[in-house]
Amino acid sequence: MQQIAAAGDSRALEDVRVGALGKKGSIAELLKTLGGMTPEQRKTQGPLFNGLRDRAADAIAARKRELEGEALEARLMTERVDVTLPAPEAAEGSVHPVSHVRDELIAIFADLDFKVAEGPDVETDEYNFSKLNIPPEHPARQMHDTFYLKPQSDSTRTLLRTHTSPVQVRTMLAQKPPIRIIAPGRTYRRDYDATHSPMFHQVEGLVVDSETHLGHLKWILEEFCKAYFELPAIGMRLRPSYFPFTEPSVEVDIQCDRSGGQIRFGEGRDWMEIAGAGMVHPRVLEMCGVDPEYYHGFAFGFGIDRLAMLKYGIPDLRPFFESDLRWLRHYGFAALDIAALHESLSQ
């Protein structure tokens, strides 16, 4: 038994086993002596010898497992890797803030049953202006410094849409009320300075129904702002303004605090302009085949880039479109950070 315990490796243990239990081993020799014994002797010595053999075999097996365990342990110790080495190909993808905020807007308005509508970036004068009650030489056209395309082969004149409002026109011409849509998309104006980019993004909202009024517009805007800024309450102020395609027209300010060089919403006494809106002008309804005596509607428009800047503290507009990888990684969103109302609009 001492020899078993002392066996330092499997080979030594095997020697012990052969020495005891092998054909000529000590226990085997002992067992052989049973043949020359009397039945009485055998009765007493037999179990004794067999017991000895079994105990030796068990001890050897146990020692064997022990030695194998130790050997595995020793081998694994030599197989160490430096786990601080970098794993291969860590993906560092990101989703642009404009895309993420667009998804947030869709998630919020989806809950209010607004469908997502789209329209082309290249538009006709008729859809971008005339049908929105902006005739040629209207002073409002100066607010929309427009990119025109060179005359087409069929001599039609097209332009890059200056707002997403043509989608209102296209939607009303294509479907009967009730209508609830939002239309996010690219928009273009000939404006390029520190706070303007020749391309930017708007989201348009349009509701047309038999009973729709300014109070509903106010409610939608309030609910949207609370959801988007993820605040329980936020002060809002509507100011009379002017857009040719709405009447009455309003501009929408939300409550904010600018002290300390940072903007915080839902507190403070300052106001931040955030949207333009109004009741759809009866002439626009009429031009789009909707009876203004029976239907009313309201429309609103936000700047998506601006919403992203306000919520996520992005200081400048122009880097949005420059694709500096450092900017994209810093202000972008993880690929699977999907805007959802039941979880959170963003992580």
Binding site: P139, F147, K150, H213, S323, L328, G332
Partner: protein
Amino acid sequence: MKFSVSWLKEHLDTTADAAAIADAATNIGLEVESIDDKSATLTAFTVARVVSAEPHPNADRLRVCRVDTGKDIVQVVCGAPNARAGLIGIFAPPGTWIPGSGFALKVATIRGVESRGMLCSERELQLSDEHEGIIELGGDFALGTPAAAALGLGDAVIDVAITPNRGDCTSVHGIARDLAAARLGALKTRPVSAVPGKFESPIRVSLDFPAGKESACPLFAGRVIRGLRNRPSPEWLQQRLKSAGLRPISVLVDVTNYVSHGWGRPLHAFDAAKLRGHMRARLAREGEKILALDGKEYALDPEMTVIADDAAARSIGGVMGGEDSGCTESTTEMFLESALFDPVRTARTGRMLGIVSDARYRFERGVDPEFVIPGLELATQLILEICGGEASALRVAGRVPEWRRHVRFDPSDVNRLGGFHLPDEEIAAILLRLGFELRGRGPFDAMPPSWRADVHDKADLVEEVVRIYGLDKVPAAAMSRPYAIARPVTTEPQRRASLARRAVAARGFAEGVHYSFIPRAHASMFGGGDEARQLENPISADLDSLRPSLIPSLLAAAARNQARGLMQVRLFELGVQFESGHPGAQANVAAGIRAGEPPRHWTKSVIRPDAFAAKADALAALDAVWAGARSAPVKAGAAHWYHPGRSGTIATGPKPLAWFGELHPSIASGFDLKGPVSLFEVFLDAIPASKARSSKSRPKLEASDLMPLTRDFAFVVGADVTADQVVRAARSAERKLIESVELFDVYQGSGVAEGKKSLAIAVTIQPRERTLTEAEIEGIAQKIVSTVAKATGGVLRS
């Protein structure tokens, strides 16, 4: 539109201060952009007198002045050429923040002489850009008087953004009228009486338009004023104009600006001595030119209105006067014009000529047709008061066009559109305060005043009522939810775009958003750059073409990043590309690039930007949006900006679903890109729509309990045989039992003949009903070998 509070109070009797005025204005739709209160920013500056000015001992251009501040005499070193004894100016003591220079004044030693303060220029006080000399005050001010008071800046200046519909508010009077309607005070109206003519105007006026174009200028009035002594305007008038950001010039010009800004009536003052014969309003002649007051010559076209004498056009109607006929300080006889120019024509003229002027601003928004003559009389009175002289009788051509119109208005529309109830009497009271005339009860018959050309229908009237009543009082009202639980709101293409975006981002690409217009040179490299996709008025010459592909935007962005030292770029965009300049000729594309040598990695497992990285990227995007992606056929070659031998097209029909591959080297060098570049374009709009299904239930899973087995084969085939041919042939050998065929090795070299290659495949066989015998398996293997041999000429490698 800027005005000072004291100017407003000429027109409005109110006790409100600047802040209250600004609040009231904003609440009725006159958005206040800023309130500039100089008395607050200039508190430290005071009136002082230069007692003596001696040459600086060590500097030719400097003077050492002794300045009496009213409290004591201080020494100031001054570099202004006009610094002299007796000058009354504006003094800043040490410690003062100088707004125009952006520093705080300190006691300084200038070339060895101590200076304790500063005499200030207009620029230093941010009053103007004037920095030629220090301010010289004209009036008689006690020393120590606050500068703001002495400079007539004692009251705050309010800047209001006027929306294009409110031509009536392009004047101080108009703003006062609107504020009065909102009950901020009582409107003060200056009585205008006709100035009796002392003589017949020697200059006659006429309208000279062809039939059908009379609306260009339906009314033209004027008169001669003679015996004038033109000069700089009195202080009060100068201060009014300065507060509005206008530069005082001389009485005759300043009065026209005062009436224009004060009452919204643009006028023009001609020097009568420079005119030839009589005046007429007419359309410009072909080829006619005029040197305008801004010193530039403009070529006119026959749709532009001019005021002309017998010899030439003397002013561009409603836009700008002519340089040659303008008043100067030596003018003694003037012709004062007041006319009504058509808004649309004026807007067009201004836009075509690129002239922005105060007159254009007002005419294109519409001026009050009833104030043409009163405005002329008002200006005449002011000129006579200040300059003396005598006025002729008026000459008038044409008449005030009919502006009266009636809008039928049911007060219940306020409730229908506004969502709140207001008694009829209150609605009527608001409209009356705004100058409307009302007839009838219940549904009114409302006539807008002459200055409100923007009000046409019931929605306009609702807006008037709502804005004066107060938008903040409109209660928010919940909208009905048609469904308790929101329904899906996006279309399949919209969902696909979203999925593709997330799938590509998950592969380590950063999403960029780029302009839809790119340099023409880039567009031409990608099949664009034609006339139909050119902008007529680009923001700059290198942003003039609608992009025919997203790739040039991505390559340019990658090059910008590499130029900043970010050498490894993985960038994608999900956006539109344009097929022509027509609406709708655009496609949604998911495109991405990998550029630059991949980052080194100790495991050596890196993804190089090559055709197969691009293929994996394209398939990942496609797979995210379309179930057929993995089995779609892949063909060699793609668009011409891809490497012709290392690119592929995924397509099920004639239209490609995706292109992938390596960038053509000549394009890479055109964009100055470093390292290898792979790219892919997935055409989201080309992907077949999924079939409408009545149920989302899936077919039952067929998972066999029998053990699948795998056999490897290596075929030696011709070098031009594709992997796809071999794999498809092997699969077709026994469709029922062969579960999959994977290609796992490609080998060319010793042991394989020249012009040949070895392709190794692993075939997985899935027994269906019972285990297969060795003989059956051998049979399948034979079939595979023979099918591949038949299809590709490949032989089993020995």
